[in-house]
Amino acid sequence: MQAKLIVTIFGVLLIVSVNWYFFFSRKKSASADVKEEGIQEVKIIVKGGYDPDVIVVKKGISVRLDFYRDETDDCSDTIVFGDFKIRKPLPAFKTTPIEFTPEKEGEYVFTCGMGMMRGKLIVR
């Protein structure tokens, strides 16, 4: 009986912590540096996810996101910015720049080709 109680409590705690960790814990965010040429640039490392995965940029200034894919795992082989109609292959161990100009404020999700790895672009 005791064993059952322990397993139940442990199980519930585990479920809570899994959901907290994946859904509610804070993610790393980075703001873009505005360079002299009027481009805001952020470097992102792609390895099982996007690092950083929350990117803050300013409205109306062109953005260059340099994605460096540090793995060969198929999952991350494409980057998709659905709102900007961008879908680009990311060659492994290479930097692929993605350039666009966000015109509207808001939060835009970017994902891998299959929507499993996610990051957020916040335009202010």
Binding site: N19, G48, D51, D73
Partner: protein, 882 residues
């Protein structure tokens, strides 16, 4: 501040990445890399530093010396100019150039489309000439080039290379990107070439990698991929052998002939361990990578699931007494963990292969781009890289060769195979004045043509871009799947844990075993991949297939709307019809022959520029009738023309003209009315004051219009014709095309409103037009289909572009969209159904009722094949017949 001797960058001592002590002096470096280089050979860097100092000194002395300014030799530069249409343009440009400080003489030649400037190089830079030309409103024929550079490791390298490039004569712009390791260069091909540019970069100590057109850029990636694939294959084979042994050893109750030592727990452990940690390493790696980013993916599920089975078995092997104390016979599940890994690996192998095929169409398109062009420069034929071809260049193409860029034939005749661009399988005849498309293949004769579009403006480049964009888009139908896949994995983990707890608490004896097996099965069977792949793979294959057939679809959204259409509106002129009037009937009177009538009418029209006149001349030429120059030609506004041909007075025009000249037309009038009723335009002709007959001209239907309309009707669409013609004419044409509903007398600017009208009645409307004057209507329609043109405007406004003018393409496009959406729906249904049915099954919901429990090994097999089946289903689109 200290100077990094390796890269030349200024570094703050306190921020330096490191320093080296050499001959009692400290040297600071911006990066570890620089420090290592210095340590390898410090003397070399010290020497080159000294050399630079020596060179720098005299320079400083030279600068302030004004006397030298006058003695400086002036230089000459030739700049090709694009977009000059008249001699006055030339003088505008010339004035702009001559006004620049330091320019001694500027001469712009309209005939050669180039500017020659004599200038003082220390006072003015060639870049300024270019901006001056651009300010005058013209473009400079620069060539842009992207070169990959190897060995850059800090920001100062960038400046060094950019400086070296800009100092190279003829280079107008140079931007080096450290992140992509590429230099973007714009240069004047009249002044310099790739060789000089490469030399300039290499003089700074960096290496230029081989010129890489887009397909080659992918090469290293493909190599890595192939290597991975091979590695995966080896792993799979080794895993399969080991897994089989583990399976046999664990199932001795089924295979009594298996030697008993294989059933030993320790032996099984030894066999399963390499599978778990060598072959399955990628799952751990992937899972950890995702975990760090607070993500969870397939790898997480597989790593956690198999580890649970593996660790349980290890415990049972090492501490059997622990289980025995609880009254459970210790058992191991090494076969479960090992076979799951092997099966999922197999699934990945198959998926990788299938996924590679989905992007084949775009790779094929990229592979079409030609590499070199044979251009006439200074009256000589020279082979140059296609990147250096300028607008206006004359290019020579021999039989069997690829046409390098878009252009217009100047000289020669040939037949060209355009199937790769338009999907048209029969070679198209080309003569002077005809357009040719880059990447198509010249078949029979040789010809010369003038380049009109190069680089990213060519039809092929535009098509590639469009298809790439389309493949990057998603159909709205995917949205739900996207939302789900984002939350999927953590939820599955939660369900698996809950399953474990429930089985442990309420399951039959041995509860721990059941709890473990159901936990593993739930983790392993869930397959978010299938959800994620459902739409993108189908959109990729569908749009790729379309591109092969000359149907360019803008994206997933267009595909999805196209299959829901119920109304299709055709613009008449140029869409349903050829857009060029043709002679349809000739009525003769007073014993004149058809040839005679044609001869006089065509000769009289020779100097007129009326489209109806052109139709007559065209027919006369086709019939090889000799034409003579008319005398006393006179165009009578609103009536027709009069002229003298071979001494005979010819009148050609409407009834009013005949009445005015008091010519008796008798029964011709009746005939003319009949022709007008058929939607034709009749013209009277009289010779020497006597009525000679009628020539009726009409815009005729394209060959396949009737067939296309019939097919569209069969697909259940209402077909409507939109035209500016009067009702009678419009109805006559519509009847011939098999169209029942006509919207006549619509002014061009009202086309949009007609579409809006239909939409307000709840119709989903497609508009088919030639894309140029119909752009607003195309954009307003739910699906805009631009036909027979690759113009930017048309592509911009439309959702679907048909490269060929053939209307059957409309049918194909709609059919393709219907098929693609059907495949997407099947995929999504399969993926949803699979997961919603599979997870409860794996959790054991059937056990209390039927005693059925899913073996985790079957769960893994099901998972592996669910994503493969989705991709294979999408690949079926490649075989659709259009």
């Amino acid at each position: 501040m200290a100077k990094d001797l390796v890269c030349g960058m200024e570094v703050k001592e306190e921020e330096a990445a490191g320093f080296s002590l050499y001959k009692d002096k400290k040297y600071y470096f911006c990066s570890k890399n620089c420090k290592e280089k210095f340590d390898e050979n410090p003397e070399e860097y010290l020497k080159s530093e000294e050399r630079e100092k020596e060179q720098a000194l005299p320079e400083k002395e030279v600068e302030p010396e004004p006397a030298k300014e006058h003695g400086e030799k002036s230089e000459r530069i030739d700049i090709p100019i694009v977009g000059m249409s008249c001699a006055s343009c030339a003088s505008t440009i010339q004035r702009g150039l001559a006004d620049l400080k330091g320019v001694e003489k500027a001469n712009v030649n309209f005939a050669t489309s180039s500017a020659t400037v004599l200038f003082q190089p220390h006072l003015v830079k060639p870049e300024e000439f270019i901006s001056s030309v651009r300010k005058s409103g013209y473009e400079v024929g620069t060539v842009s080039l992207e070169l990959p550079i190897q060995g850059m490791d800090c920001a100062s390298c960038v400046q060094k290379i950019e400086k070296a490039l800009l100092q190279t004569r003829g280079v107008t712009k140079a931007v080096v990107n450290l992140a992509t390791e590429k230099a973007k260069i714009e240069y004047l091909s009249s002044e310099t070439g790739i060789k000089e540019i490469k030399r300039a970069i290499e003089s700074t100590g960096y290496k230029v990698l081989e010129l890489a057109p887009s397909e080659e850029v992918e090469d290293p990636e493909r190599l890595i991929r192939e290597k991975e694939y091979k590695k995966l294959k080896t792993k799979f084979i080794v895993g399969l052998v080991l897994g089989l042994f583990v399976f046999l050893g664990s199932s001795r109750h089924w295979f009594p002939w298996v030697p008993s030592f294989l059933g030993n727990f320790h032996v099984l452990w030894a066999l399963a361990t390499p599978v778990q940690f060598w072959i399955g390493w990628q799952f751990y790696k992937g899972a950890w990578g995702a975990f760090k980013h607070r993500n969870a993916d397939m790898n997480t599920l597989i790593a956690v699931g198999t580890s649970a089975a593996y660790l349980y078995s290890v415990t049972a092997t090492l501490f059997p007494s622990f289980f025995e104390a609880g009254g459970i016979k210790p058992a191991v599940y090494f076969d479960t963990s090992a076979l799951i890994i092997v099966l999922i690996l197999l699934g990945r192998l198959l998926e990788a292969r299938a996924k590679g095929q989905t992007s084949e169409a775009i790779k094929k398109l990229m592979g079409l781009s030609p590499k070199t062009a044979r251009v006439i420069r200074e009256e000589k034929e020279v082979d140059i890289p296609v990147e250096e071809v300028l607008v206006g260049d004359t290019i020579v193409v021999r039989p069997g060769e690829k046409i390098p860029v878009d252009g217009i034939v100047k000289d020669g005749k040939s037949a060209v195979d355009e199937s790769m661009i338009t999907g048209e399988s029969i070679p198209v005849k080309k003569k002077a004045g005809d357009e040719v498309i880059g990447a198509t293949i010249n078949k029979t004769g040789s010809f010369k043509f003038q380049a009109t579009k190069v680089g990213k403006d060519t039809a092929l480049a535009q098509i590639i871009k469009l298809v790439q964009d389309a493949q990057g888009s998603k159909a709205p139908i995917q949205r739900l799947a996207d939302v789900i896949s984002g939350y999927f994995v953590p939820i599955v983990i939660s369900i698996a844990i809950a399953t474990f707890v429930i089985w442990f608490n309420f399951g039959p004896f041995p509860a721990l075993t059941f709890a473990l097996l159901t936990f593993v099965a739930v983790m392993i069977i869930a397959c978010p991949c299938a959800l994620g792949l459902a739409t993108p793979t189908a959109v990729m294959v569908g749009t790729g297939k379309g591109a092969e057939k000359g149907i360019l679809i803008k994206g997933g959204e267009s595909l999805e709307t196209a299959h829901k259409l119920d109304t299709i509106v055709f613009d008449k002129t140029g869409t349903l019809t050829r857009g060029e009037p043709e002679i349809t009937d000739i009525v003769i009177q007073n014993d004149y022959s058809e040839e005679e009538i044609l001869k006089y009418a065509a000769s009289a029209e020779k100097v007129s520029e009326h489209p109806l006149g052109e139709a007559i001349i065209k027919r006369a030429r086709e019939k090889k009738i000799e034409l003579h120059d008319p005398k006393n030609f006179n165009a009578i506004e609103g009536h027709g023309i009069e002229a003298e041909v071979d001494g005979k007075k010819v009148l050609l025009g409407n009834l009013k003209l005949m009445q005015k000249q008091k010519i008796v037309v008798r029964n011709l009038e009746e005939k003319a009315e009949e022709l007008a009723g058929d939607g034709k335009t009749p013209m009277y002709i009289s010779l020497e004051g006597k009525a000679a007959g009628l020539i009726a001209v009409a815009d005729t239907l394209k060959e396949n219009s009737l067939q296309a309309v019939a097919k569209l009707k069969k697909l259940g669409l209402e077909v409507i014709m939109l035209t500016g013609d009067n009702k009678k004419t419009a109805e006559a044409i519509a009847r011939k095309a098999g169209i029942d509903r006509v919207l006549p007398e619509v002014l061009p600017e009202d086309k949009v409103n007609e579409i809006k009208n239909l939409q307000s009645k709840g119709r989903r409307v497609a508009m088919v037009g030639d894309g140029i004057n119909d752009a607003p209507a195309l954009a307003q329609a739910d699906v805009g289909i631009a036909i027979g043109s690759g113009t930017d405007v048309a592509m911009e406004a439309s959702d679907i572009t048909l490269i060929k003018g053939d209307l059957r393409g409309v049918v194909s496009a709609i059919e393709l969209s219907k098929r693609t959406i059907k495949i997407i729906k099947q995929n999504l249904f399969w993926a949803f159904f699979y997961n919603t049915a599979g997870i409860p099954l794996a959790a054991g919901v059937l056990y209390p009722f039927f005693g059925i429990l899913l073996n985790p090994i079957f769960a893994s097999a099901a998972m592996a094949f669910s994503s493969v089946s989705v991709v294979s289903n999408s690949l079926r689109l490649r075989r659709v017949k259009l």
